[in-house]
Symmetry: C2
Subunit: 172 residues, 2 copies
Amino acid sequence: MEVMEAIRTRRSVRQYAPEPIPAEKLDTVLEAARLAPTACNYQPFKLVIVKDEATRRQLVPACAGQAFVAEAPVIIVGCAFEDQAYQRQAGSMSSFAIDLSIVFDHITLAAVDQGLGTCWIGAFDEQAVRDIVGVPQDVRVVALTPLGMPAEDPAMPPRKPIEELVCYEKWE
Amino acid sequence: MEVMEAIRTRRSVRQYAPEPIPAEKLDTVLEAARLAPTACNYQPFKLVIVKDEATRRQLVPACAGQAFVAEAPVIIVGCAFEDQAYQRQAGSMSSFAIDLSIVFDHITLAAVDQGLGTCWIGAFDEQAVRDIVGVPQDVRVVALTPLGMPAEDPAMPPRKPIEELVCYEKWE
């Protein structure tokens, strides 16, 4: 699929078919993640691929009760190593959330290309997710997404007009 | 261009041709940014598009002296409204950096599709960039990128093997 078509047709999918994902499609999505750029190329991230149904169901209450998360045959748990990420000197911002977000955006667009749906999950209890999946205490969970065949075709929520999002030369 | 080809061929471009960007290419890149998903669809971001050469040159010392930043005909300054972004309750993480990173990753891949180069700039002095472009004190600058016709064709830096980046079912 063309890049701009993937960008135009990507949706937050909240209904999934229960069928497993063909291995080659999952591999392609994970290869997109692997190729993502990260600050200084440190690649300070790890993805936990959860297929086990019991574990998926355990993750639902950790994700604010969003039941659809466990409907998909796969949940990707996006983890980042804060202490291995680039640290900006002036303004002291760690790039761990930026790096993981680049990886996850690559995943969402590669998923569209493969006919798969995703939904960025931002509402979750980080410690509860750590406990369920066994993520070490010093590793950050930045985002999760279900991954599976979409069973709905929602419209894109309205976006702001470009004039509100872009200005030229100086802030206005 | 196909999604996976864009992901495989995207590079951090540090040499640019001085030619201006055709308006329709810039518009396509900015439309990709506009369509990017953000937590709760709050769209808490604004992009400042800097074409003015004097301003671009001013940004070089604010970007750790990386002179190539000003070689491209456009610099995009990626700003986020921290106080308008989704705030996760448990673990209290604001999504402003995640949201802006999704927008910027859309930009980098749409740029490849349009034959343009980018380079995520993470090393910058946030306050210095604010001062040059007139960004309000309560707005965060999350990333910048030059945007222009590539004048180099670098190799992708080596990525970790998939086994280091992905595990199944539980953390290992």
